[in-house]
Symmetry: C2
Subunit: 205 residues, 2 copies
DNA sequence: AAAAAGTTTAACCAAACGGTTAACAAAAGT
DNA sequence: ACTTTTGTTAACCGTTTGGTTAAACTTTTT
């Protein structure tokens, strides 16, 4: 057995492929461009990953398994509902600022191939909202939050956190703010979003 | 002058191109596929639209000018803020259900080419949030809503309305609901989203 | 040190791609 | 009637694309 190599080609390819696929998508990416990005011969891509499709799937799964634990924080965590919303919002926005292409990439590719989405979410024993649902229903029963379907609350949390990163060119254009100001607004959202949600659902005693 | 033709080829092409481009994006779409969809010879696409790029731009602009007046409803309308949020949410969700591919298409292509986004939003004298901003600030000054930046409120309105349609494969997977149930949830959002927003910002007297 | 296995490269290939051409058909203008 | 313009088609073209090959180089095994 073995694995010396200070330059691991397989990993080099995966990282280059990540960059190119996440920026241009499956159909927009070119194998030659990935090879150039990695600084190696194009044949290496096929040597290690056989085909564009398989290389893409490796990139996608890698991206998804980076995002999954983030999403799990809203769904499964032993903290109270409000704490959960606050910590998720704070963490998620930090996370996404360091991986700006990630959410758009995933959404784009899931839309391109929804069957792949179903397969992926099924095979990998995946974040399930059952616990979250129970928690929401308990909070409603105890009069802590106003009645709302757990699914709708979950959609709202996801939307408020993810959308401004996915739709940034549109929102930048509509609000007429420059890149720097937009980034500041995104940082503000680390607390703004959680406040907005909790304000909406909390019952005032 | 004139224009007899019961089958207007130019329009036939545009409609076919809309379908293909909105489903597969600029890079994923094929000229032959558009021709097949329209049931005509591929050379016709170039006869009427010169190139793939120009055909794409025609489709994009058409899609955008369909979405723009919808967005304008939040930004410029003479009604009160709460009315505005309620009517926009209700209208927008109805609108998007009849044009399901539209928001994702626009977001995807704006991300692919952000410069094109800037150009488009600049040339077409476009929805501007200035009026909305003034209105929000007035409401805050009058103690009707709690303090919030107009941009953040605007982002939140956009996010809550648009995101569940853009990210439907992801959200379907995570919440484990079938297509029919998902559609029901989307219809519920016609009122749910407005309530959620107003609950969050309204000052209780 | 020789053989075997693993890695890398340049050159190549067939298919798919966007786009063009030339010939033809249908309308419109005269 | 015929000439010109407009619309349409099949066949074609050069380039790009994902993928392969065969030979060379490197590392590991014996």
């Amino acid at each position: 057995m073995s694995k010396k190599k200070d330059t691991n080609t397989e990993e080099l390819i995966l990282n280059a492929a990540k960059q190119v696929f996440q920026k241009k998508g499956m159909t927009g990416a070119r194998m030659q461009e990935i090879a150039d990005e990695a600084g190696i011969n194009k044949a290496m891509l096929h040597y290690y990953y056989r085909s564009k499709q398989l290389l893409f799937e490796a990139v996608f799964k890698s991206a998804f398994s980076l995002l999954a634990p983030q999403l799990n924080k809203v769904i499964n965590a032993k903290t109270s509902l409000f704490d959960k919303i606050e910590s998720f919002t704070n963490n998620y926005i930090s996370f996404i600022i360091t991986h700006p292409y990630l959410p758009n990439f995933i959404i784009q590719e899931l839309n391109r191939n929804p069957e792949f989405a179903k397969k992926l979410l099924a095979e990998k024993h995946f974040p399930n909202i059952d616990n979250f649902k129970v928690q929401v229903e308990e909070h409603i029963a105890n009069g802590i939050i106003r009645p709302i379907k757990a699914e709708q609350l979950f959609f709202n949390i996801m939307a408020l956190n993810i959308f401004p990163f996915v739709a940034s060119p549109l929102l930048k254009g509509l609000t007429n703010v420059d890149d720097e100001t937009y980034k500041k607004l995104m940082l503000e959202r680390k607390t703004e979003v959680a406040d907005f949600i909790i304000n909406s659902i909390k019952v005032i005693k």
